[in-house]
């Protein structure tokens, strides 16, 4: 398999602290309301305690990116070397097609520039031998960067509950599921 960078989201370690999401804002100064990485809480039907388990998600740099496929002006390209899906904002005419298309909600509309934008996998940082800002920021190493060509983690899943399954896109992301402690509650 060719090199394909991916995010590894270890929900067992993740504390839902939003550090990764803010680290991205710190790096790219998105407009208010524009979020490239968000931290989604798992609903109670998946993790029975409200606001206590999370997936930190951005663009999944899919093997077969629908954003790229649907963009009428070819504003996206997928890097040969590492599979990163890059959006060239200059070329974007703001048709919103990628935003509607991507089921993961990764591309967002920038109301000031009137163009789409999304997580770049910090490719400029990668090219400078730096970790993506979000990955570097994570205080618990719950968010990591892996190469799917070499990734070999028995317990990892691609489509955990709470993350939509789109095999045709083949999102470059892997998860470890959250765990729960033994609960001793007071009787009232």
């Amino acid at each position: 398999m060719k090199k394909q960078l991916a995010f590894y989201i270890d929900a067992k370690r993740c504390i839902g602290c939003f550090t990764c999401a803010m680290a991205c804002k710190n790096q790219y100064h998105q407009e208010s309301g524009v979020i490239w990485r968000d931290v989604y809480e798992l609903k109670e039907e998946i993790y029975p305690h409200r606001e206590r388990a999370f997936y930190s998600l951005a663009c999944n740099h899919c093997e077969n990116p629908t954003c790229l496929n649907v963009c009428p002006v070819v504003a996206y390209y997928k890097r040969e070397a590492d599979g990163v899906v890059v959006h060239e904002q200059d070329k974007c005419i703001g048709c919103g097609n990628c935003i509607r298309s991507c089921p993961y909600g990764a591309p967002r509309y920038n109301p000031v520039l009137k163009r789409a934008e999304k997580c770049s996998f910090c490719w400029q940082r990668l090219d400078d031998d730096r970790k993506p800002a979000c990955v570097l920021s994570c205080p618990t190493d719950a968010l990591q960067i892996v190469d799917l060509a070499e990734f070999d983690e028995a317990n990892a899943v691609q489509y955990p509950a709470g993350f939509p399954r789109y095999p045709s896109l083949n999102p470059s992301v892997r998860f470890r599921l959250p765990a729960m402690p033994k609960m001793i509650r007071r009787k009232l």
Binding site: T66, L68, P72, R100, S101, C102
Partner: protein, 265 residues
């Protein structure tokens, strides 16, 4: 819930109306006996609808000046194909209008209709993306075809001579019946789908807009045709109004897949 996308509402409804109008015109002129009707004004109307739609569509772009670039990605982007398709269709309609005497050349008529239908298919593909599970299927194509048939037939009635009105009325009535069934059934089908589809279905069922479009655009026109046994001039206007409401609902009420992130899909 999503955005209302008014420019897209106008663009899609008008362009589909034009497709319907041209297709029905082709049939009426060349596949049925009798007078052709007012073909020139009809094709001019189709051309104007298309131009108005295209202008409207520019308002949807963050950078309208980049619109011509939108055909760069024919290899995979349905939107590029749509842009090309609608462009060619518009050109054919204009040529048709310019070259028309009392009829438009049969080859050209059918070619234009075919290209229009293909463009309509491209549009449908553009608006059935993975991001909207309720729409990521054949439904947009069905919806858009119905628009072409209903509003197209409705508008065609204005250019049709009395002899052929029954034919047009029949086309419209059948389309309306199919439309009524489809629009009444589809939201309930969605209810049995995954979470996001279900949410879309619930949005429809609980939206006054959806019910208003059923009544205004489908029920009243059908009843009017049934009661009067002919097509009153105001009926196509209602059908158009209903389609516009329906198209607003199409964009507004569809739930994006990412809205349920963290929940059961």
């Amino acid at each position: 819930m999503s955005e209302m996308e008014l420019p897209l509402v106008i663009f899609t409804v008008l362009s589909q109306t034009a497709v319907g109008l041209v297709a029905i015109s082709a049939i009426r002129q060349h596949a049925a006996d009798g007078p052709a009707g007012s073909v020139r004004p009809e094709w001019m109307t189709a051309a104007l609808l298309l131009i108005a739609g295209l202008v409207a569509s520019l308002f949807h772009l963050g950078h309208p000046l980049g619109a011509p670039l939108a055909i760069k990605h024919l290899g995979s982007a349905w939107l590029s194909r749509e842009a090309l398709g609608i462009g060619v269709f518009t050109a054919l309609v204009i040529v048709g209008f310019l070259s028309a005497r009392d009829r438009v050349n049969a080859g050209l008529s059918f070619a234009a209709a075919a290209v229009g239908l293909i463009a309509l298919f491209f549009t449908a593909m553009t608006y059935s993306p993975p991001g909207f599970p309720a729409l990521n299927n054949v439904m947009p194509f069905v919806f858009f075809l119905l628009t072409a048939a209903m509003v197209g037939a409705g508008f065609a009635s204005y250019f049709t001579s009395a002899e052929k009105m029954p034919m047009i009325t029949r086309i419209l009535a059948v389309s309306l019946i199919i439309g009524l069934v489809v629009y009444l059934v589809v939201p309930f089908l969605w209810l049995s789908g995954g979470t996001v589809m279900r949410q879309t279905g619930l949005n429809y069922i609980s939206s006054p807009l959806y019910w208003a479009r059923i009544i205004v655009g489908l029920v009243i026109p059908l009843m009017a045709i049934w009661r009067m046994r002919t097509l009153a001039a105001w009926v196509p206007v209602l059908v158009l109004a209903g389609e516009i409401m329906g198209r607003i609902a199409f964009f507004l009420l569809a739930v994006h897949a990412s809205a349920n992130m963290g929940g059961i899909y």
